[in-house]
């Protein structure tokens, strides 16, 4: 069905986009890498975000903006 195909097509395009914009690209200073034997194992962004693909697809992505809520303590 045409509609079915469009949805699947869109899913795939969105996943390809997410793979890039959420995980790659320039990141800002403040990140910490833990190295073991010169292999960078873990990459901690102090700019902290937690996201899953499902969350993003449902429109529930919580970005750095939400931390502003805690700023008025």
């Amino acid at each position: 069905m045409a509609t079915d195909l469009t949805i699947r097509h869109r899913d795939v395009v969105l996943l390809e986009l997410l793979d890039r914009v959420l995980d790659k690209g320039v990141v800002v200073a403040g990140d910490l890498t833990i190295s073991v034997a010169d292999v960078d194992l873990i990459y901690l962004g102090l700019r902290v975000l937690l996201c899953s693909v499902e969350t993003m697809k449902k429109g529930g992505y919580t970005g750095v903006f939400s931390e502003g809520r805690q700023g008025d303590r």
């Binding site: 699947r8 793979d19 996201c51 899953s52 693909v53």
Partner: protein
């Protein structure tokens, strides 16, 4: 430089031509790509509600890394013939218990196997 894209509009980004392939396989591709997404190291959430889980994930990932490396080392020695039967048995039981313990901890913190996998770059995935 010649412009890469003429007049961008949102519909052009969503344009199907951005992605090309066997349309029958799209659903399967989505499924597999999502699995890869889950395995990627995610940033931690500073939100206190999620902080514990984020840190637990980090700690468990490190613990699991050690466990797997040690297990591989034990297997290498076993295959190399430098261990007595009794040593092999003790090591096997120890690793068996460690694996069970890890499974327990994952349940406690609501983490799946994929959550603890990380990509070691040139070494490939952790497991």
């Amino acid at each position: 430089m010649k412009p890469l894209f003429d007049e961008m509009t949102r519909s052009e980004i969503l344009e199907p031509s951005r992605v090309q392939g066997n349309v029958d396989a799209f659903a399967q591709f989505s499924q597999e790509i999502e699995k890869v997404e889950k395995a990627m190291p995610r940033h931690l959430n500073a939100d206190p509600e999620h902080l514990e889980q984020g840190l637990a994930k980090l700690v468990l990932t490190l613990v699991d890394l050690l466990r797997r490396l040690l297990e591989r080392q034990a297997i290498r020695r076993m295959e190399g013939g430098s261990l007595h039967d009794e040593e092999i048995e003790r090591l096997g039981l120890a690793f068996m218990r460690m694996e069970a313990k890890m499974a327990e901890l994952k349940t406690v913190f609501g983490l799946k196997d994929d959550d603890l996998n990380i990509n070691l770059g040139p070494l490939g995935d952790l497991w």
